[in-house]
Symmetry: C2
Subunit: 278 residues, 2 copies
């Protein structure tokens, strides 16, 4: 199949490498000449261009763009999508993107591969990124059934674990398991670093071990991504933050009031819940 990939960063670049291996012909779109040269050197696509007209012969197009560019797509991008092409995106929120794109293109199907790492840009894609990853597909009443089947088939061919749900359920779930951790992890980093006596800070740095490293990891990710998630999944994130704050308040009350039985119960429940969860 002729597949267009708009954006050759971590997700787009990895897809380009993998889909060529699966014998598709890949037309990659790069955002500037310098990245185009790098993408060609890394063989991220069969053809790499900055010209969106390159998409004209594609029957399937993957929009591997930052959330902001998916929510406010350029007129040039919209114009360059062939009428019969099936289109999907890879954005980490779904409803706001789908609301826009279903009105732009009847053959749009929203999706979200749960794969990534701390790297970004044209140098970061690699062929195994999607191995056994979960890939969420979020059809709506308006989704074309043939387009849906083709996207499902594509996802399965990538050796991914397909999860199907509604855009709303997706956005609520990721607000809790994926977006909330960013903001609490960032707040932990601030607590440890800001307005500290230099002596305490020096010892904190020496004593921070795997516990701190793990709990603070997602708070140090790409700030633009964190911002885009907050902007476009705002309501669900605010709800998750409120619930989280209630639990933190309770823990504080248990410790303040020396209610050790309740604190023990809380910690025992967390242990049990996480075992059930992961």
């Amino acid at each position: 199949m002729n597949i267009g990939i708009v954006g050759l960063g971590l997700i787009g670049g990895s897809l380009g490498l993998k889909l060529q291996k699966l014998n598709h012909t890949i037309f990659g779109i790069s955002n500037n000449e310098s990245n185009k040269e790098k993408a060609i050197k890394r063989n991220l696509a069969n053809t790499v261009s900055c010209d969106l007209n390159t998409l004209k012969d594609c029957s399937l197009i993957i929009l591997a763009l930052p959330i902001q560019e998916l929510i406010k797509p350029s007129k040039l991008l919209i114009k360059s999508i062939p009428e019969n092409a099936i289109v999907t995106d890879v954005g980490s929120i779904k409803k706001p993107i789908i609301d826009i794109w279903e009105n732009i293109h009847p053959l749009f199907v929203g999706s979200h591969p749960m794969a990534g790492n701390e790297h970004q840009g044209v140098e970061s894609g690699f062929i195994n990124l999607f191995d056994k990853a979960k890939w969420v597909i979020t059809p709506t009443k308006r989704t074309n059934s043939k387009a849906l089947e083709i996207i499902k088939h594509l996802i399965k061919s990538l050796n991914c674990d397909l999860v199907e749900t509604s855009p709303e359920t997706h956005d609520k779930a990721v607000a809790e398991v994926s977006h909330l951790p960013i903001f609490l992890s960032s707040s932990l980093i601030h607590t440890v670093n800001v307005n500290k006596e230099s002596q305490i800070l020096e010892i904190s740095k020496k004593l921070a071990s795997s516990g701190f490293a793990d709990t603070s990891r997602v708070g140090a990710g790409n700030p633009q991504l964190g911002l885009d998630l907050a902007k476009h999944n705002r309501t669900h994130i605010l709800k998750a933050l409120k619930e989280f704050k209630n639990y933190i308040d309770e823990v504080e009350n248990f410790i303040e009031g020396e209610d050790w039985a309740k604190l023990y119960q809380r910690l025992e429940d967390s242990k049990k819940f996480r075992l059930d969860f992961l």
Copy 2:
């Protein structure tokens, strides 16, 4: 040297294995007959006994006991420590333990190896646990200088990175980098699990990836340890919780008030702080 190790769990058992390798003669104390048999089978010490009198010929004793037993030591334990033996502990808080033990035994030196994992008990010790780990030593004005030198020498012989600070500074630093993460991580686990529509919970479980796994890890540790830390490092943990809550409130306000410039700055700072920190 004849070294006594009281408690053959993860820390005590690992020490027993490693110190035998360094040609010391280890007298291990187990809390019951069944664990004693397991410890003998695993060669955790040259001699394993449930009888504290076994410590009578030891010139150095390591108290590898839970915090609670260090804070309220049994009379039998106190009586069994030879007058000339140097004694250290491995507790994860320092001031409350040192305040007790400096009044029990003049040759006591508080210390804390920053090593561990999610396992516990007589089956969990292993010889490499301390390789390149940080080991904190927290002398006070009352610490005997010869005892201090011998404990320092022992820690270095274990291939550990020695960190020296006061008990108070240790307890403040670990409240932030080590204890606070437990309570926020536990609250995250509760947020995601409790009072959820079954449909959301099901999708959350499917979509939880490495970000959630890392941020929730320390919230699912040994509940008794979390409780003991809260009990005995209460003031410092409450202070850390208050500071953390202020940062969470600010993040909530940025998102609520759509103050995207400040939210971006916050996330950019976290990224920078963590790079400096770890």
